[in-house]
């Protein structure tokens, strides 16, 4: 069999290739550069991400319309939906790398090695967002996970970090088995791993051997759906597959936590959407019940458990679980607004969640116990910028207008209402109210408590200052200017079957 690749095929993988190339360059840097290694490596990674962003934006401009510009034998696609998530992924990668250097220096990390692993993970995530085939989805999930296992255990001198990496590896492998089993069953029932072909088989367009009804009601398909849902849910830290999340988030080096808290979800959700809303979209009544229950449990457990945390990273881990629940609400709506809401959510989430980790990171880089929420007492007096920015992130995470966090949540719940599932929106709003209990606690500590005598001023450094200012500005701009939302609307044109 000969593989014939066109220019369009190369174009579809170009952003991913750029990131991979950048990662290899970083490894070379590691071998040759000895002075100012952190600065040079940071510069190379940011330049790589910028270049990949340009390539992705070019693909966006070229691939308008609802058709699938298919690359590499319909294994992956360069459609706008994938590009939109590429923007979110590149953004979260860049934001995490912008705040990483002080931490890299204090922990004596090998900058080239560390950052190249982040880029490898990013490449795997981008591949996942672009995949149009179950095999590629599995492949990319392993690619990104491998890099993340190593990153989680990167701090060799800290047992907590080692524990995090090992736990993540063990549990993730366990969950991956469910995923691949589910994929195998779907392949067995439909005869294809290609999502478009699965649509055709299940939708009865392809004139297949088995009639649609028999295929759909076959236990293979149903158990396949169930097992794939389990596999995806693990990666998204959906309850009850979430238990690794707080431990790994807390143990992993903080820049890794910041990165994976957003990027993993921004990579898995598009694949989840492509499989469930596109390939199995017409059969939503067969999976809706599962996602409905998972979303409700996730929103409640995530928000309630976050209340009693004294560690900021664990708090944000549970907050991340809760937010996965909100996004799941949007996804389970299985309509155009829902897919748009999912896409829009991650642009917003990148700004507010990575920004929230910046506070932990800045304090930890100074050798303080930045993970302990109690250390934020009177932070406003020590660093007005850091305190105000974190305050904005907390308000945005809690969903206060006019920050973008409000609109992200609003569209997610509006999708559920449009799909006729008001109960999901109601539970979402109630649990959001509960979330105020922990988000505002941080704000109260920072602004309304006196600073301890003798506490030093905190200077975050120019790159972190830039990142914080840009994230705060981003949250207001995305909230007030509808351009970004319209972009997300264009991105979901790939889901051509949506009527509403």
């Amino acid at each position: 069999m000969t593989i014939h690749l066109t220019a369009a095929d190369y174009g579809a993988v170009l952003p991913i290739m750029i990131v991979l190339g950048g990662a290899l360059c970083l490894l070379l840097t590691d071998a040759f550069v000895k002075v100012h290694e952190t600065e040079i490596a940071t510069g190379i990674s940011l330049a790589t991400l910028l270049l990949a962003f340009a390539a992705s934006a070019h693909l966006w401009a070229v691939n308008a319309g609802p058709a699938f510009p298919q690359g590499a034998g319909a294994m992956i696609t360069g459609d706008r939906f994938g590009q939109f998530f590429n923007f979110a992924l590149l953004l979260s990668s860049a934001l995490a790398i912008l705040i990483a250097p002080p931490y890299i220096r204090t922990s004596h990390f090998d900058a080239g090695e560390f950052l190249s692993l982040i880029l490898f993970a990013t490449a795997g995530m981008m591949l996942m967002a672009a995949s149009l085939n179950l095999m590629v989805i599995f492949l990319s999930i392993e690619l990104l996970s491998l890099a993340l296992y190593i990153l989680s255990g990167f701090d060799r001198n800290r047992p907590r970090s080692q524990e995090a990496g090992f736990k993540y590896f063990l549990l993730s492998s366990f969950a991956s088995a469910f995923l691949i089993y589910g994929m195998a069953l779907i392949y067995g029932a439909t005869g294809s791993t290609n999502l478009i072909r699965i649509v055709n088989v299940l939708g009865g367009h392809a004139g297949t051997v088995a009639s649609t009804h028999t295929v759909l009601s076959s236990p293979f398909v149903l158990i396949g759906i169930a097992l794939m849902a389990v596999g995806f849910a693990f990666k998204l830290s959906i309850v009850p597959f979430h238990m690794w999340t707080p431990d790994v988030y807390q143990g992993a080096p903080t820049p890794v936590t910041a990165f994976m808290s957003v990027a993993t979800k921004a990579a898995v959700f598009p694949a989840f959407l492509r499989v469930f809303n596109l390939a199995l979209g017409a059969e939503s009544h067969r999976w809706f019940g599962i996602l409905w229950a998972l979303a409700i449990v996730t929103m409640i457990v995530g928000n309630v458990l976050a209340l009693s945390q004294s560690s900021m990273k664990r708090l944000l881990a549970y907050s991340g679980i809760a937010h996965a629940g909100y996004v799941l609400v949007a996804m389970s709506a299985n309509n155009r607004l829902g897919a748009t809401a999912v896409a829009f959510y991650f642009i917003v989430y990148a700004f507010m969640n990575i920004g929230a980790f910046a506070l932990v990171l800045v304090l930890e880089s100074r050798g303080e116990a930045g993970d302990e929420i109690a250390t934020y007492r009177g932070l406003f007096a020590r660093s007005p910028l850091l305190a105000v920015a974190t305050g904005v992130f907390m308000f945005s995470l809690a969903g206060f207008p006019p920050t973008a966090g409000f609109f992200a949540k609003y569209y997610a719940f509006a999708a559920a209402v449009q799909a006729g599932h008001t109960e999901l929106a109601i539970i979402g709003v109630i649990t959001s109210v509960i979330s105020l209990g922990y988000y505002l606690r941080v704000v109260v500590l920072m602004f309304m408590q006196p600073v301890e005598a003798g506490a030093e001023q905190v200077r975050a450094g120019p790159l972190s200052d830039f990142m914080l200012t840009a994230s705060v500005a981003g949250l207001f701009v995305v909230g007030l200017v509808p351009w970004f939302y319209n972009l997300a609307v264009q991105a979901v044109q790939s889901f051509f079957h949506f009527t509403t």
Partner: protein
């Protein structure tokens, strides 16, 4: 891009820069604070000529749609028409002059930057209010000016009186905001939009003429207008608002914000036009307020509070103007009032500066010799507000009184209104000249206090002089007998929707002559009493003790409110906070919060840290998910 966005965004930019610019030197603040408003004024002039060049065509400039949720659509848009343009020119133009004046007035204050920060925010909020193309953003601006008014009244937050006054202003304004909001809810219910144009186009079709809904909506809007414009019965906050710095009183509590109620009624004219009942209420409230405030001003001895009551009285005239469907005359009086009242407040500020912040006019006198420029400006503005012929206030006030006179030919009870308005015109002359004579003429009563009295520096003198000039020539926009230029121009705003507002009436010479006579009588009385005899205030009171005490105590309204409203509410509040709050609310809120915290703590125990437990949880989850299919079948 339309120049309107520059007008809007420049003050916002100034506010944002000043709010974070703690390292900015004072000089930079002094340039930036007034500068942005000055540039915005230039942009407003550009917009003015642009629109006037196109024959006062109205247009809607929509920047973009922000939110779409069912029927509920939120645009960032501006409605540019003669009404909005006039308001815009006043807010930025007079605002610029007052900010310039503030550079001198506030130069000694430690919170120089904070002052200009708030002032720029106020100008922005006021511009949002007048430029908005929907009731929604009108409300945003409405609340914004309320907030900045609160912040600026309480600018000297270490003075308990200032804080109390700020709180009072906020509370009274919230009553108005409540009325506004309910009105907007009802409007949205009937029109499915809050945009002006679709509402105004369909008022007669949807709400009918003189129906109960349109009555309720307009009355609720009137509650908002009355609170914001300090009219009866929600006027009590305005005199106390004089605790703020004098430029604030000039800009917010005289020239612009307090006239927002007049703007609201003029803007909503298709609604008010369909509700003749409410129009009558507006006229009655206005007339009673004009008379009431004039009597209060007559007895008051605080230079700024006299001006505050006079502001209330003049706005009451504007209410009568827009209530009598003579919208252009109301807006015309709003314009001229902005000039002379801002000038009067600047004069008062200059006097206070010279006399170490003393505001008691019984300790003043003879300042003409030491402060000639201030005296002449104050004199011109006093003549203008009193309605001395050929100055601006004469033209604008006579238009309002004249239109009532004209309508009284058909509606009998309006004669009472007309008589009261003419009488109040005389009272206005009396209290204003009383103020002038007591402050600037005669012997100085407290020589020690006035020892170092002098005219203010140029940066304060210049805006005062410009406004004095405007107070003279501002009236020629509508010279009696000549084409009513401003009226004709504003008509473009008031002819756009059905029902069309009636044309501005021709000058009513009979009314004009009678008003001139009462004004002359008022000035003469002031001259006899306060210039020739110069009695001690106690002596004035002695001739008519009961009525003097009535006026001095502001008709006992404040005391009545205190007993009938404030104290019962405080008692109720105490009851709620001690009994209901502690046992009911806290029980519910803290109970549920505690329950959540406890369940959170219990659920945490599951998080054991062992991989085997975590894997078990995943397995159980998988079994449940698969089981869902098994048992569903």
């Amino acid at each position: 891009m339309s120049s309107v966005w520059f007008i809007l965004l420049l003050p916002l930019f100034g506010f944002l820069v000043l709010s974070v610019g703690s390292p900015l030197p004072k000089r930079a603040v002094a340039v930036l604070g007034p500068g942005v408003v000055g540039v915005a004024f230039t942009a407003a002039i550009v917009m003015f000529f642009w629109d006037y060049g196109r024959h006062g065509v109205t247009r809607d400039a929509v920047a973009y749609t922000w939110i779409v949720s069912g029927h509920f659509v939120v645009n960032f848009g501006a409605l540019i028409d003669p009404l909005a343009t006039v308001m815009c020119l006043i807010v930025t133009g007079v605002g610029f002059l007052i900010l310039l004046y503030s550079v001198g007035y506030m130069s000694e204050d430690v919170d120089f930057r904070r002052f200009f920060c708030y002032m720029d925010l106020f100008v922005f909020a006021m511009l949002v209010l007048v430029l908005s193309d929907s009731y929604l953003f009108l409300l945003v601006g409405w609340a914004g000016v309320g907030l900045t008014s609160y912040l600026l009244i309480g600018f000297w937050y270490e003075r308990p009186a200032a804080v109390a006054a700020a709180r009072q202003a906020l509370v009274v304004n919230v009553i108005g905001d409540w009325g506004m909001m309910v009105a907007l809810f009802i409007l949205f219910l009937h029109f499915h939009t809050l945009q002006y144009v679709p509402i105004f186009k369909h008022v007669p079709a949807v709400l009918g003429y003189d129906g109960s809904t349109v009555r309720i909506v307009t009355l609720l809007l009137l509650v908002g207008a009355v609170a914001k414009s300090a009219q009866l019965p929600l006027h009590v906050w305005l005199p106390n608002a004089m605790e703020g710095p004098t430029p604030v009183s000039a800009l917010i509590h005289a020239a612009t914000m307090v006239t927002a109620g007049v703007y609201l009624i003029a803007r909503s004219y298709p609604l008010f036009h369909s509700a003749p009942f409410t129009q009558s209420v507006v006229i009655i409230i206005g007339t009673c307020g004009a008379f009431f405030a004039a009597t209060c001003a007559l007895a008051n001895n605080d230079i700024k509070r006299v001006l505050a009551y006079s502001t209330m009285s003049q706005i009451a005239y504007m209410f009568v103007g827009v209530g009598a469907a003579s919208y252009a005359s109301g807006i015309f009086h709003l314009t001229t009032h902005a000039y002379f009242k801002a000038c009067l407040f600047m004069g008062a500020g200059a006097v206070m500066h010279a006399l170490h912040d003393n505001v008691d006019i019984r300790r003043m006198g003879g300042l003409k010799a030491t402060m000639p420029v201030t005296f002449w400006c104050f004199l011109i503005a006093t003549m203008a507000i009193s309605g001395v012929p050929l100055l601006s206030g004469f033209f604008s006030k006579d238009e309002i009184v004249g239109s009532v006179y004209l309508q009284a030919q058909h509606v009998g009870w309006l004669w009472i209104i007309w008589i009261m308005l003419a009488l109040t015109a005389g009272l206005t002359a009396l209290y204003m000249f009383r103020l002038l004579f007591m402050v600037f003429l005669g012997q100085e009563r407290d020589p020690e206090l006035a020892l170092h009295a002098h005219d203010p520096p140029l940066v304060m003198r210049l805006p005062m002089m410009i406004l004095a000039v405007l107070a003279v020539i501002g009236g020629y926009l509508a010279f009696p007998g000549a084409p009513n230029w401003i009226g004709n121009w504003l008509r473009h705003s008031f002819e756009r929707f059905s029902p069309v507002a009636p044309a501005e009436p021709a000058t009513q010479w009979a009314s004009v002559i009678i008003v001139i006579l009462t004004v002359a009588l008022g000035i003469f009385a002031a001259y006899r009493i306060y210039y020739q005899r110069r009695p001690a205030p106690e002596q004035v009171g002695a001739t008519a003790p009961a009525i003097y005490r009535l006026f001095l105590n502001r008709w006992y309204v404040d005391g009545l409110y205190d007993r009938a409203v404030v104290r019962p509410i405080i008692v109720l509040g105490l009851f709620l906070s001690t009994v209901v709050e502690r046992f009911v609310i806290n029980g519910l809120v803290e109970g549920s919060a505690a329950a959540l915290r406890d369940s959170s703590r219990d659920m945490r125990r599951v998080q054991s840290g062992y991989v085997r437990n975590y894997a078990l949880s995943i397995l159980l989850g998988a079994v449940l998910v698969v089981g869902y299919y098994v048992f569903r079948r």
